[in-house]
């Protein structure tokens, strides 16, 4: 079984790269990009299995990016990273194609579980 390909999208470089490194330690093929454009490029060139997408980045709308990713690669599972969440916004994000969401900062175990669950969902 090949490694699960995870793409991290966050403007906080330190956060994204450190998290990618931790995921690599845990056996994921994780890559970090720091803006939406690079993320979309990546989705086009080598579609990842799971995308961890920060909802709030300067100069772009996270939900727009989510929709674009789902359009480019419908099988791609997107987990939204957000400062705050609610049942209502979760339902809206799900309608836009998000697989799940995680509240920043969250424990690595929680994230890993969410990534695995999303990947299983993709494989079904």
């Amino acid at each position: 079984m090949s490694k699960v390909k995870v793409l991290l999208v966050d403007d906080e470089v330190e956060f994204a790269s450190t998290l990618a490194e931790r995921l690599q330690i845990r056996g994921y093929e994780a890559k970090a990009v720091f803006c939406a454009e690079s993320a979309l490029d990546m989705v086009r060139s080598e579609p990842p299995d799971v995308v961890l997408l920060d909802l709030k980045m300067p100069g772009m709308n996270g939900v727009e990016v989510l929709r674009t990713i789902k359009k480019l690669s419908p099988s791609c599972q997107v987990i939204l990273l957000t400062g705050h969440g609610s049942e209502q916004s979760a339902a809206e994000w799900a309608a836009d194609g998000a697989a799940d969401y995680a509240i920043k900062p969250s424990e690595i175990e929680t994230l890993v579980a969410k990534i695995n669950r999303a990947n299983e969902k993709r494989l079904k």
């Binding site: 906080e12 330190e14 956060f15 330690i25 845990r26 400062g83």
Partner: protein
């Protein structure tokens, strides 16, 4: 929405009037000594206005009714005097007529021959005296003017009257009443003479009686006179015919200007030298050479005043009512001013309340932003610490990863510093409004504020230039509050400019004791007619929901409390400059 704007406009206008009060004393709701004076002068003004409104008509009505009463009273007074004179004249005329008729009767009933007989005449004289009294003598004069017979105290038999005026007069007129003269026993008398024609012989004779003036005096003094009034009879030459109380003795020239003969009753005012004016009434007495005169010492006006002052009850009542009116006015003015004061206090409380809630709202908005900003460094800390844990769990030899660990720990420390800076700013904003004096470097304060806004400036590509004059004296002021002031003004500048706009913050020393901070932007500017409103509470030019309209009013209040001042220069579509001047040493206000 339009309605709401209009409502806001009204509130602003209302508040504009009291802006000084509000802004000079925004945090305190108790009245200052200055405003106490203001209420006192307001009370006095209301008292005066009400007093004038009530008093002027009252005084006018009083004057008008006094004048009309005076007119009526004067007429009444004059009529009374006229009537008095008229009735006295009638009495006197009746008296004279009666005696003339009696003499005529005697002359008609007797012949010359009969009356020439002393004894017959003496008999008639006694009877006449019994009927009419006060007759001094009775005499018959023939057509040559010679006394033919005489009954009385003198011996006038044979006296020749042919050259005397009265004789000529009685011959022409048929009847004659003489002036008063001093006669028997030095008592004033007057004479009445009637002519008896004897047509069959073509001749005539005259019957003459002398009458004591005391009789007439009684009639004159019957005129119901008060102590300072006078009544008298004078002849056409102004010689008193009766005794006068004030104007001279009998047969003397009258002391006042002599009245002229007149058929009618004439009333006039005469002035004696130096004394009070007199009302003089006079009229001629028919069939006599006399004029009846009457003087009343008091004029109609003085009589009216006498009457009014005599009525002390009404006077007391009037004074009492005026007093009552003044008391009511004072009470009403006080109550009115108290209502105004209460309303103002309520309004001040409401303003303080809304300023407070406005502040809370800003804190809420700021808080949300801050929380979001804190989240990112927290996430970094989380991952760095997690990675360290991962490495420690997987490796048995920590030394291999020393460099890596130091890097991770440094990143954690940096993130903590980031969080700390954010929380410090938040605490600075949330600090209470009390003025705290500390020594601060204004340039540093401004730099810190700008740091806080760095991110937005960066995102919107705004160029923020600072020209901070170095070596400024440190000032004694409240750092937290000054930060709030500059944060507010610079925030407004950021809101005012387009993306990519320019803002310049500069400091300079003025007059050695004041520092001027200027915040200049090249935004849309403020229209001239709006500049005067910008420091008013609830005034905002920002979009609905973007501003509370309290920022600049709070700013103004803070600067004022710190002993500073704010000026604004602005030109539409050129830009706006705010100048904040602060004293180097803030006077506690």
């Amino acid at each position: 929405m339009q309605k709401e704007e209009r409502h806001t406009g009204l509130v602003q206008k209302f508040i504009a009037r009291y802006r000084n009060l509000i802004l000079s004393d925004a945090s305190s709701v108790s009245a200052t000594p200055l405003s106490k004076d203001r209420y006192k002068s307001l009370k006095i003004r209301i008292f005066l206005v009400i007093g004038t409104l009530a008093g002027v008509p009252l005084v006018m009505i009083t004057i008008l009714s006094y004048l009309s009463l005076q007119g009526a009273f004067k007429e009444d007074f004059n009529n009374q005097m006229r009537g008095n004179i008229e009735s006295t004249r009638q009495s006197v005329e009746f008296f004279i007529d009666e005696r003339i008729s009696a003499l005529r009767f005697l002359a008609a009933a007797n012949t010359y021959a009969q009356l020439s007989d002393e004894r017959v005449l003496q008999d008639l004289f006694i009877k006449f005296k019994r009927e009419f009294g006060e007759v001094v003598d009775l005499g018959v004069i023939n057509s040559d003017g010679i006394q033919a017979s005489y009954a009385g105290p003198y011996s006038l038999q044979g006296k020749d009257y042919s050259n005397q005026d009265w004789f000529h007069e009685v011959v022409i007129r048929g009847v004659y009443v003489s002036d008063v003269f001093m006669g028997y026993r030095k008592i004033p008398h007057f004479a009445i003479a009637v002519k008896k024609e004897v047509p069959e012989r073509g001749t005539f004779w005259i019957l003459r009686a002398t009458i004591d003036m005391a009789t007439l005096n009684r009639y004159v003094s019957i005129a119901n006179l008060k102590s300072r009034d006078d009544a008298f009879i004078i002849n056409h030459q102004g010689i008193l015919q009766t005794q006068s109380r004030y104007h001279g003795n009998v047969l003397e020239k009258i002391a006042i200007e002599a009245p002229r003969p007149s058929e009618e009753v004439i009333l006039s005012e005469v002035r004696q030298n130096g004394s009070t004016p007199l009302i003089l009434g006079y009229t001629s007495i028919k069939k006599s050479p006399w004029i009846l005169g009457m003087t009343v010492a008091s004029t109609a006006q003085s009589k009216l005043l006498d009457l009014l002052t005599r009525d002390m009850v009404s006077a007391y009542l009037a004074v009492f009512l005026v007093f009552l009116g003044i008391i009511a006015n004072i009470k009403f003015s006080s109550a009115l001013v108290n209502w105004i004061r209460e309303a103002e206090l309520e309004r001040e409380e409401a303003i303080a309340q809304s300023q407070h809630s406005g502040k809370l709202a800003s804190i809420g908005r700021l808080g949300a932003g801050v929380a979001h900003e804190i989240n990112n460094p927290l996430a970094i800390i989380n991952e760095k610490a997690g990675l360290m844990k991962d490495i420690l769990l997987m490796s048995t030899d920590a030394h291999i990863n020393k460099e890596k660990f130091i890097g991770l720990i440094q990143a954690i420390s940096d993130s903590v510093t980031r969080c700390k800076a954010i929380t410090q700013r938040l605490l600075g904003f949330a600090r209470r409004m009390d003025v705290r004096h500390e020594e601060i470097d204004l340039n540093d304060t401004i730099r810190e504020v700008i740091e806080f806004l760095d991110k937005e400036i960066l995102y919107r590509n705004i160029s923020l230039e600072t020209r901070l004059k170095e070596d400024l004296p440190r000032i004694i002021s409240d750092k937290g509050q000054l930060q709030q002031v500059f944060l507010n003004i610079i925030n407004n500048a950021i809101d005012a400019v387009e993306d990519g706009g320019q803002i310049m913050v500069s400091t300079e020393l003025r007059n050695h004791d004041r520092i001027r901070v200027s915040i200049k932007d090249n935004g849309q500017g403020i229209a001239k007619e709006k500049i005067k409103n910008i420091f008013e509470p609830f005034y905002t030019t920002k979009e609905k929901g973007k501003g509370t309209g309290l920022g600049l009013s709070i700013t103004y209040g803070i600067v004022d409390r710190l002993g500073g001042s704010i000026q604004v220069e602005s030109e539409v579509s050129v830009g706006t400059t705010f100048h904040v001047e602060l004293p180097v040493r803030a006077e506690a206000q």
